[in-house]
């Protein structure tokens, strides 16, 4: 453990130098608490999960991440740091656990797949654990995903799969008969990348081919889920000074809460924010005008970011507080969820801000018994991409989501010259469209 600690500390130093970012007092602070919890992790395979949650309302908020990433990316095909850290690495780490929870087939996806002619070649872009591969036994499926561990799970089940990026499919044009993109586009952090992913699907199918796209909606049927998410916003991007900000050990056992801190935030939230500020007062030095968000981010740092945390240049890379919540599908945490409800902003209060909020971190709880010591989770804890929650007995990851407002998918494809929307619907808190390639 000591060695581990020292190693990670050195790594931190080097990393920071490499990025030449201000690291303030963080650099010198060794936080034994970070490592202590790690002892609790049992060594085993990883696991994973993702929620089919959505949230909601329909107004499109200017997407800060989008703009930032446009600047920092040399190409729309270059993966932004936020996706690497809060999508790819997370799914890689939680793949088996995630997969163990991904089996329910959405009826509308099933209907779509069953409607395809016998003998069709169906491309599943971002296939995850491959739950739709082979769904229609009269069709042939090829799945791809950027997560090697998820693709490995598909391959072990006998599916035809490859590791590839949905924004840059390695397919020649017009070879597929149909394509699906299920719960994928919401993990892309810029509008250009989301558009590009759709372009790629259209390109890959033949003329007349159908493409089903589903994304999480802002308008979640279960509004309480949204309270478990961490909203990302411009303030975080602009003012968050990074995980290297002064670290203060909070003496209280903190319940990190979801604070809807949007620019156009509603007054109702000020109350919540104030109460949180009060709660955190005295434990965390404020270094920013945006007291509440920074304080919560301090908590994020305390609880999530170890001395080994990598500094990341992208302003959108690390932000946010953690949310002590579980996925809607992990029963083991239901008790905790109940007990937390009293401390969380109420659902109704969240509605107003959620209307304009589309950028989130959505937590994934990887139970300790599924976390691999010395594996991905241990690394993630060391470098600050995951956090331990001893109360829940889980390693908590954050996954980046851009949830879609009503009509947003249609707007994304409205300028396309070679595809038209032939159907659109709302299903299980997801916005869905079916495109047809026309040229």
């Amino acid at each position: 453990m000591v060695f581990c600690f020292l190693r990670s500390y050195r790594f931190t130093e080097a990393t920071w130098k490499a990025f030449s970012l201000p690291n303030f007092a963080f650099r010198g602070v060794c936080h034994p608490g970070i490592f202590k919890p790690m002892r609790g992790i049992k060594v085993k395979g990883l696991s994973s999960l993702r929620t089919l949650v959505s949230d909601g309302e329909s107004h499109v908020q200017p997407m800060p991440l989008v703009e930032e990433e446009k600047v920092s990316s040399s190409s729309v095909q270059s993966t932004p740091e936020i996706e690497k850290n809060y999508v790819h690495r997370v799914y890689d780490a939680i793949a088996p656990h995630f997969s163990s929870t991904r089996f329910a087939k959405w009826p509308k996806v099933a209907t779509f797949l069953n409607s395809l002619p016998s003998g069709s070649l169906v491309l599943d872009s971002g296939c995850g654990n491959g739950k739709y591969l082979g769904f229609n036994p009269d069709c042939t499926f090829v799945g791809c995903d950027i997560s090697g561990p998820l693709i490995k799970i598909c391959a072990d089940r006998g599916h035809e799969v490859l590791v590839a990026d949905a924004v840059n499919l390695p397919y020649r044009t017009g070879f597929g008969d149909a394509a699906i993109s299920i719960a994928v586009l919401h993990h892309l952090s810029t509008e250009n990348r989301r558009k590009r992913a759709i372009d790629e699907l259209v390109r890959a199918v033949k003329k007349g081919g159908l493409i089903l796209i589903t994304v999480w909606a802002v308008e979640q049927e279960d509004r309480s889920l949204v309270t478990k998410w961490t909203p990302l916003n411009q303030k975080y991007v602009d003012e968050w000074i990074g995980p290297g900000s002064p670290r203060t050990r909070s003496s209280s056992s903190i319940t990190l809460e979801s604070i809807p801190e949007t620019e156009n935030n509603s007054k109702e939230h000020e109350k919540d924010t104030e109460s949180l500020n009060h709660k955190f007062k005295g434990t965390v030095p404020s270094t920013s005008k945006d007291v509440s968000s920074v304080q919560n981010q301090q908590e994020y740092v305390d609880e999530w970011i170890g001395p080994g945390s990598p500094r990341i240049r992208s302003p959108s890379s690390i932000t946010l507080e953690s949310i002590p919540e579980t996925e809607n599908n992990s029963k083991e945490h239901e008790k905790d969820t109940e007990s937390l409800k009293g401390t969380m902003p109420s659902t109704s209060k969240d509605d107003s801000s959620a209307q304009n909020q589309q950028e989130y971190f959505v937590p994934w709880h990887l139970p300790y018994h599924r976390a691999e010591v010395g594996g991905a989770s241990a690394c993630a804890l060391e470098n600050g991409l995951a956090k331990k929650d001893d109360k829940k007995g889980a390693v908590v990851y954050n996954r980046y989501y851009h949830v879609f407002s009503e009509g947003e998918l249609e707007r994304l494809v409205s300028g396309m010259s070679n595809a038209v929307v032939v159907d659109r619907f709302f299903d299980k808190s997801n916005w869905c469209i079916i495109l047809q390639k026309t040229l």
Partner: protein, 122 residues
């Protein structure tokens, strides 16, 4: 990776004009029998790059495909059986796919091609 997939894959490295077909480097080929599915074969045939398929099958050790093919051959059960075997029953288990323009190798391990590009390739 099976050969109908190979017939679809193309190197998408930035600047590559024609990334198809990827050359196959074979370390290990595995054969697995699957159900015969003529609908799929008839549907795929018009989209296949035939020469690429013939070359790929040969690389994988299967030489029964004719050098030339046209749609009238789809009436032949014998032809369909050969096509079925080539497209669906030969698996590149270990090896690599090589970009025809740049020589960049995409590894294939445990039957899974890794087509991810590096930062400087997009």
């Amino acid at each position: 990776m099976r050969l109908f997939t190979h017939n679809m894959l193309s190197s998408n490295i930035k600047g590559v004009a024609n990334g198809f077909p990827l050359r196959i480097e074979v370390d290990q080929v595995v054969e697995k029998q699957v159900d015969f599915h003529p609908d799929f074969l008839r549907n795929m045939f018009p989209k296949l790059e035939w020469k690429a398929l013939v070359d790929a099958a040969r690389t994988m050790g299967y030489t029964e495909l004719p050098e030339e093919a046209d749609s009238s051959m789809l009436e032949s059960e014998e032809f369909l059986r050969k096509l079925h075997h080539a497209l669906l029953e030969l698996h590149l288990e270990e090896g690599a796919l090589v970009c025809p323009e740049t020589g960049r190798k995409f590894p294939v391990n445990k039957g899974i091609p890794n087509m991810l590009l590096h930062e400087d390739e997009v």
